[in-house]
C-alpha cells in the first residue's frame, strides 16, 4: 500500500509586496517523511513557509496545494491550522498579558471544543510535554513569548507543535539562535512528535540540525526554486562546500557551521 500524501505542493508561486519570491515549487510530503529545505538567506524558503501557513502578506499567485487531500489555498490561516498544518515560527510573536497556559488552552479549545477530553486533560498533558523539553513548570504562567530568550521561544514553538499534534509541521529556522544543548532538546522534542503518519518540513540554513533529525529528502532552494534534491548526504555536501557550486556565485554574507 502506498503512503498517503499529507502535503502536496504543485508549482507554487509566492509574491510579497509585489515581488515574486517563490517561483514554482513542487513537493510531496508523505506520511512518515521528513523533508529539509535548505538554502542561503533570501532564497525564499521562509516566504514559502509563511505563505503556506496563510500569512495575509504572502500571496500565493500560482500553483496548487493540498493538505490531507483538501485544497489548502481555499483556506484562511485558522482553517489551515485546523486542517492539520503547523508552522513553527522563526520569529514567534509576543502577546503580553496572555499566559502560555491560557494561550494553549485557547488553541486546544479552538481545535477540540469546550467539552473535549483534550481540554479536560490539558494540565496533565502539558506537564508531560514540559518534561520532554526540559521546561520549568513556571513557564505556563509566563506571558506568551514576552521577554523570552531565543531558546525559550523555540522550545515553546516545539511545545505548541507537540500539544496541537498536527499532521504536517513546517519548522522555519527552528535551529537559529540555539546553542548546542538547546538544539539537542528541541530536536528531542521534534523526534518525540514525529511518528508514522506524520510529516515534517524543516526549513533551515545550516546542516547542524540534521545531525539530530534525519531527513529523508533534502531540497536546495535558491532564488525561489529548488535547484537540487537528494538524500541526507546532500546536506553534508552543502556543509563542506557551501551553496556556491549550486548557485554559480559565492555567498559572502553567511558562514556555514559557525
Amino acid at each position: 500500500m502506498s503512503k498517503k500524501t499529507l502535503l502536496s505542493l504543485n508549482d507554487i508561486h509566492v509574491t510579497v509586496a509585489g515581488k515574486e519570491v517563490v517561483k514554482g515549487i513542487s513537493l510531496d510530503v508523505n506520511e512518515g517523511e521528513i523533508h529539509a529545505i535548505m538554502g542561503p538567506n533570501g532564497s525564499g524558503k521562509s516566504s514559502l513557509a509563511q505563505a503556506l501557513a496563510g500569512h495575509p502578506s504572502y500571496e500565493i499567485t500560482g500553483g496548487s496545494a493540498k493538505i490531507n487531500g483538501q485544497d489548502l489555498l481555499e483556506m484562511d490561516a485558522t482553517e489551515r491550522s485546523l486542517a492539520g498544518l503547523f508552522l513553527g515560527f522563526q520569529y514567534p510573536q509576543a502577546i503580553p498579558g496572555v499566559t502560555v497556559a491560557n494561550f494553549l488552552r485557547a488553541a486546544i479549545k479552538a481545535r477540540h471544543g469546550e467539552e473535549s477530553d483534550e481540554l479536560r486533560s490539558f494540565r496533565k498533558n502539558i506537564k508531560a510535554k514540559f518534561d520532554v523539553l526540559s521546561v520549568d513548570p513556571g513557564f505556563a504562567g509566563r506571558y506568551l513569548n514576552d521577554g523570552f530568550s531565543g531558546g525559550e521561544k523555540k522550545r515553546l514553538e516545539i511545545l505548541q507543535m507537540m500539544v496541537l499534534n498536527p499532521a504536517v509541521a513546517i519548522l522555519d529556522e527552528t535551529d537559529s539562535g540555539l546553542d548546542i544543548d538547546a538544539l539537542k532538546v528541541v530536536a528531542h522534542g521534534i523526534n518525540e512528535y514525529f511518528e508514522e503518519g506524520k510529516g515534517i518540513l524543516l526549513v533551515t540554513h545550516y546542516q547542524r540540525m540534521l545531525n539530530y533529525i534525519k531527513p529523508h529528502q533534502v531540497h536546495v532552494m535558491i532564488h525561489g526554486k529548488f535547484v537540487r534534491s537528494g538524500g541526507p548526504e546532500l546536506a553534508l555536501q552543502l556543509e563542506d562546500q557551501g551553496y556556491d557550486w549550486l548557485n554559480g556565485k559565492s555567498e559572502q554574507t553567511e558562514q556555514v557551521g559557525v
Partner: protein, 475 residues
Amino acid sequence: MPDAIKNKNIANIGDNYAEKYGFHNPEEYFHKGARGLNHEVVEMISQMKKEPEWMRKFRHESLDIFLAKPMPKWGNTKILNSIPFDDIFYYIKPIDKQGTSWDDVPAYIKNTFDKLGIPEAEKKFLAGVSAQYESEVVYHSFKKDLEDQGVIFKDMDSGLRDHGELVQKHFATVIPNTDNKFAALNSAVWSGGSFIYVPPGIDVKIPLQAYFRINAENMGQFERTLIIADKGSRVHYIEGCTAPVFTTDSLHSAVVELIAEDGAYIRYTTIQNWAHNILNLVTKRAMAKTNATVEWVDGNIGSRLTMKYPCIYLVGEGAKGEILSIAFAGSGQHQDAGAKVIHAAPNTSSRITSKSISKAGGRASYRGLVKVYPNAQKSKVSVECDALLIDDASRSDTYPTMEIDADDVRIEHEARVSKVAEEQLFYLTSRGLSEDEARLLIVNGFIEPFTKELPMEYAVELNRLIELEMEGSVG
C-alpha cells in the same frame, strides 16, 4: 484566576447587553417627582428624607452654585452642552421602605438584581451589599460580626440619619459643592450611595459592594458616597452599575469622597457598565493622610460619555496612591477618563496606570494631572498610559499634565499607542484561533494588569463584558 472559570466565560458568545442588562421594568413607583430642576424639587427631596437643617441649606446653596457655574469648556463639550436638564427626573423613590432581606423587596426589583447576580455574589463572597434602584437603596445587608466591631456600612441617607455628627464633620470636605458644576448638581439632589466608617485598626477582610441600577427613562441618578477609614484600618469597596437601553440619555452624576486616616488603607473598585445612553459624569476624590494608602481601580466599559478622573490628595508624609484604570470605547462611545494625584507632603508616592481600548469608531481619552507641591520632596511619581486601537476608525487622545514644583523627586512617565498587529493576529490564527478569538485574547492580555487586581468573580465578569464589546469587531 482559575483558568476553568475564565474559559467558561469566553464561551458565552451570543449574549448581548440588551438581553443581559438592558431589560426595563414597568415604572410603578412609590414616588416619582416631576421632570426638571429647581428649588422646589430640592426642597421636596429634603422634606421626603426628613433631613437636618444643615443638609437642607447645603442642598439649596449647591443648586445655586450649579445654576451659576458655566459648563466645563473641556472634555466632550458637544454632549455636555446638549444635556436636557429640564427633561430629567431628579428623584424617584421606587418603594416606601428599604429591605434587609430580599424577601422584603418587591418581586420585580428582586428579579432585576437576581438577573444581575447580586444575591448570589452576596452569599458567596461579600461582607455587605447595598442595592440602589433609581434614587434609593432598596436593599441593604451587612455582616453582623463587622457591625459588632463598630464598622458602619449603610446607605448615605441612613448614615445621615443615624450618624449625623460623623457625616456632618466629613461630608463635602473632600469635594466641596463649589468644586465643579456636576459636584454642585449632585450636592443639590443627591440620594442614596453608601456611608462607610471603619474604626481604628479594624480590617474588613472581605469586600463591601454597592450595585447601582437605573430603570426609568430620562432618569438622573445622583448617589453620594463617603468612606472614612480610621487610623490603621482597611477596607475594600466595590461598585457596579447597569441600566436599560433607551434612545434618550439618562444622567448619572455621583460624588464619592474617601478619607484614609493615618496608616489606613482603602481600595475602591468600579466596574462601570452603563447602557450606551447614560452620561456618566462623576467626581471621585480621596484624601490620604500620613502613611495611608488609597487605590482606585476603575473600569469603564459602558456609557455614552464618561468624564471621570479619580483623584488622590496625598496630604500626609509617606502616603501612597495608586490609580489603575481601563476604558473601553466602542461605537458611539467616548470614554474621557483619567487620574489625578496631588503630592502635598514629603515622601509620598503615586502610580497611575491607564489602559484604553478603542474599537469601531470609539474614542478613549486619557486626561491626567500630577501635581507635586514644593514641600513634597523625595516623592515618587509613575505614570503609564497605554492605548490599544482595534481598527483605523477608532481614536485615542492623551492629555497628561505634570506640575512639578519640588526639585528632589523621581518622575517616570510613559505613554504608548499601539494597534493590534497583523503579525500577532497571524501568529494566533495559525494556531487555529479565529480572528475574533485572537483579537479578544490580545485585548484580554492588554488589560491583564487591571483584571489581575480584581477579585476573581469580577475579573471573570469584566472579561465577559469585554468579550461582549469585542463581538463582531471589524475584521
